[in-house]
Amino acid sequence: MVGSASGMSTAQLRPGGAVELWAERHLRVLMLAPTVLILLGLTIFPSIYMFYAAVHKISPNPNVPWDFVGPGNFVRLLSDQQFHVALLNTTLFTVVAVTVEFLLGLGLALLLDKYLRRLTFLKTMLMIPMMLPPIAVAITWKLIYEPQFGVLNEIMYRLGLPLQAWAGDVDLAMVSIIVADVWQWTPFIFLLMLAGLASLPVEPYEAAALDGASSWRQFWDLTLPFLKPVIAIALLLRVMDALRLFDLVFILTGGGPADRTKVLSLYIYQVAYRFADPGYAAAISLFVLFATIILSTWFMKRMRLAD
């Protein structure tokens, strides 16, 4: 159905100027061209330029010519401890945060689906966190984690538990980042799962109930397979977002303490600006770019998202 419309493009034409006729005939190209050209300019060109930058030593002083170093920056990746730490932290954050968000979001959706169907207002209230500016979320949690007058330590005190430095603590910093991220993004999984549950067909469940299938079996054999496409999209988008984590870390910990929350985005930022080494930053960026392209392409191909 989708493609069939193009055949009609020249079918019935009003008399018009030559330019209009030409435009009408090439409409399918003309309507798509601006977007394709803009995106080519904003993604492909920078990627090529970045490769060019990655094989140079670039001085922060624009008057100093770039110094060709060949694969030097890429070789550095192998022995750069900080890069390995950042890679590990990003992986850890992504796996833990997305897993927690997924289990929590799916669990809540399964439990509350029946009750929230008509409570649209309440549902939207629960969705607010994911729309908020990440910077506002970060300062909100900074306020909550504050060791001296923060709410969290007040709760710990009332419960008779030891007070913590939270985002400032070596062992708790990453947990603090993850909790803030879970607060902001669990609603996203929850929302998509609710949408998935709302579109489930009724008949298979009636049949299963007649056969006496337990609700546990119904979940595994019916709900989960039906939800699979929605779960795939939710996970893909969440993973891609988690890999680019920056704002929360920038405000809450600055990558510290002891590099425990230094993630790839933050490390690239530091290399480029604080250490003033854009060439090496470009090399790390290329690594991240290829990793995400491979990951997302594999995922999207597998899920046939482009259809």
Binding site: V2, G3, A5, M8, Q12, L27, R28, M31, L32, T35, V36, L39, L42, T43, P46, S47, Y49, M50, P62, L108, L111, L112, Y115, T120, L122, M125, L126, I128, P129, M130, L132, P134, I135, A136, V137, I139, T140, K142, L143, F149, E154, W183, L192, A195, I233, L237, M240, L243, R244, F246, D247, F250, I251, S265, I268, A272, P278, S285, T292, A306
Partner: protein, 289 residues
């Protein structure tokens, strides 16, 4: 009591338990969701001494607008907000205009060699690109053209991830429209472009509005690219202004609470306007809620 009614009573009891736990969960989830937002709002209305109070002051006892005055009158937060707004509007106009045309083309036209599928896929994959990887080339590029610290540079950079979003959103809305209406218009003598402009576009208006609002939100919230591109209050956006008041030596809690809360208010309003489109917007049109 017969065995049947015993089972009946037990299942009624179980159902009540499930219902009760569902309501308790809703309340807990609501509190967990809304407390942080309430807390930043509450602190923005406190005097500094009350912000630092131990135990914390759950409700501001002496509410004050002092920090709003500090942030928006004495410091340039109004200017930051205006910059955020202008950049968001500029990005949205560019993205929605071109994205709508591209989305329509991908939803309706056929292309040789499976290009329709390939191009859709490629556009989606540009959305997956982490912004950090484009900051180096963008920075060097804007530096070369002397465009650092301008709002136009921000609009160009933000378009890179809003345009794929708008294209995919609009593609999904156009795919929902029956093609017959456009065919009928063309039988009546309208051109292909005319059918798009006079038939498809008006029908897709709710989708268009939702897409525009999402673009506004995405741009309003953006931080990293703005951090790289902007230097002074001439172009700095609201998130940059807020982050700038969290320094190594001091965090201006009252000011950033006031500015942070104000940054959230329009977003909450928007969230309620687009509540019907949330699912589609957040899944780039992949899931139709």
């Amino acid at each position: 009591m017969g065995i049947v009614s015993k089972i009946h009573v037990r299942s009624r009891f179980r159902e009540m338990l499930v219902r009760l736990s569902a309501y308790v969960t809703i309340v807990v989830a609501l509190v967990a969701t809304l407390f942080p937002i309430y807390w930043i709002a509450a602190n923005s209305f406190k005097f500094d001494i009350d912000i630092f109070a131990v135990p914390p002051e759950w409700v501001p006892r002496n509410p004050t607008l002092k920090h709003y005055d500090e942030a928006f009158i004495q410091r340039p937060f109004l200017r930051y907000a205006l910059n955020s707004f202008l950049v968001a509007v500029g990005t949205t106009i560019v993205s929605v205009c071109f994205g709508t045309m591209a989305g329509y083309a991908l939803a309706r036209f056929s292309y040789p060699w499976q290009w329709r599928r390939q191009i859709s896929f490629w556009i989606l994959s540009t959305r997956m690109m982490p912004p950090i990887v484009s900051i180096i080339p963008l920075y060097l590029f804007f530096n070369y053209f002397d465009m650092l610290n301008t709002k136009s540079a921000l609009i160009i950079a933000y378009t890179a991830f809003n345009l794929p979003f708008a294209t995919w959103m609009m593609k999904s809305y156009f795919q929902d429209l029956p093609v017959e209406l456009e065919e009928a218009a063309m039988v009546d003598g309208d051109t292909r472009w005319g059918a798009f402009l006079h038939v498809a576009l008006p029908l897709a208006r709710p989708g268009l509005a939702a897409t525009a609002i999402f673009c506004l939100i995405i741009s309003w919230n953006e931080f990293l690219l703005s951090l790289i591109i902007t230097l002074t209050e001439q172009s700095q956006t609201l998130p940059i202004g807020i982050a700038g008041r969290v320094t190594q030596y001091n965090t201006y809690w009252g000011e950033i609470s006031a500015a942070g809360f104000m940054a959230c208010v329009p977003i909450v309003v928007f969230a309620f306007i687009v509540q019907k489109h949330l699912v589609r917007g957040l899944s780039l049109g992949a899931v139709k809620g």
